[in-house]
């Protein structure tokens, strides 16, 4: 196998004919000219024998230029692709028609029972939600008022106990300042609890 030495004119000028990089590369390439091992092809083929036959992808199959022996290969490929597309579109249309027929049939027959089902579902969540907020504010009033701020229904129930409490606890003045810091979550309680403390002291 004869080497084809690099010619600086290959790159279209702008390169020194005695470029040191080219000289080094050429010198190196002329040194490393060993022959391939004699059994390399046998080893490759024994490794290939264990491999499954490669399957060509659709894109590669379509873009492969036709060989000399099969000049109509490209035409056959394009025809096959067009036929596949037509079949896919026709199938989709047919499936759509079929789905429409099925929908018409099922809607006409199943329209009566559907309202009774939706009505039966509605009351159940409203019943299950209402007991929980009424229990939690009573427990959290004395310990942690900040926890009761999460649910939206709590403010309607929490102000009542909190307004009734400041009157017994409003007597000592130092606790009034603590209550201001503890109960900011309901917006009504600070106005009521803040006014007694300065007047009492």
């Amino acid at each position: 196998m004869s080497r084809s030495p690099f010619d600086p004119s290959e790159v279209g000028g702008g390169l020194d004919p005695r470029d040191p990089a080219v000289e080094e590369l050429e010198r190196y390439a002329t040194i490393a000219t060993d022959q391939a091992p004699a059994d390399l092809a046998d080893r490759v083929m024994s490794a290939v024998a264990a491999e499954p036959t490669p399957r060509r992808g659709l894109l590669a199959w379509l873009t492969t230029p036709p060989s000399a022996g099969r000049p109509f290969a490209r035409f056959a490929r394009v025809t096959a692709l067009a036929a596949t597309l037509v079949l896919a579109v026709a199938g989709a249309l047919y499936a759509g028609e079929l789905a429409q027929l099925v929908r018409d049939f099922t809607v006409g027959s199943s329209s009566e029972p559907s309202p009774s089902v939706t009505e039966s579902f509605e009351p159940s969540p409203s019943e299950s939600v209402s007991p929980t907020p009424s229990v939690t504010p009573e427990e959290s009033e004395s310990e942690s008022p900040a926890e009761s701020g999460e649910p939206s229904e709590i403010p309607t129930s929490t102000p009542r106990p909190s307004t009734s409490q400041p009157s017994p606890t409003g007597q000592p003045s130092p606790t009034g300042s603590e209550e201001e810091s503890k109960s900011p979550s309901p917006s009504q309680t600070p106005t009521e609890t803040a006014s007694p403390t300065p007047t009492s002291t």
Partner: protein, 172 residues
Amino acid sequence: MATVLDGDRDAFRILVEREQVAVYRACLRILGRPHDAEDVAQESFVMAYRALGSYRGDGPLGGWLMRIATRHAFRRLGQRRDAAELNPEIGLSAPASDPLTALLSGERERAVRLAVAGLREPYREVVALRFFGELSLDAIATATGRPLNTVKTHLRRGLERLRADLGREVAA
């Protein structure tokens, strides 16, 4: 070629026998060790056989195969450089009578290999395909799918960077 692309093993054997010398030499020039080059060349042919399904046929199979082999060889060289190299590089040239000459020759060859391997893509690929794979610039343009003028520019810039790197290596 069509029978090779259809996975015919006998046709693939003809391709292997035709391209094995060029592929092996390219791997040897990149890796610098005959044993590694042999392994990488064999693996490259098997990788090419597996990837036959993705080959678009828009150029000679030899260029496509060479591109697979050079990439694989550079990948192997990177793995080898990561690991500790226990034995010093032995020159590829004929054994000199003077051990010092042989050692210096080996070091010089190693500097060229490392300088090419240290190039950034796409310069490294173009330089390797031209000087190690011995492909023409037209064949490189076809194999890489780049315009010929782009390949020329990449080669020129790659050689400019290589000149600087090799000058630094020699100075060191």
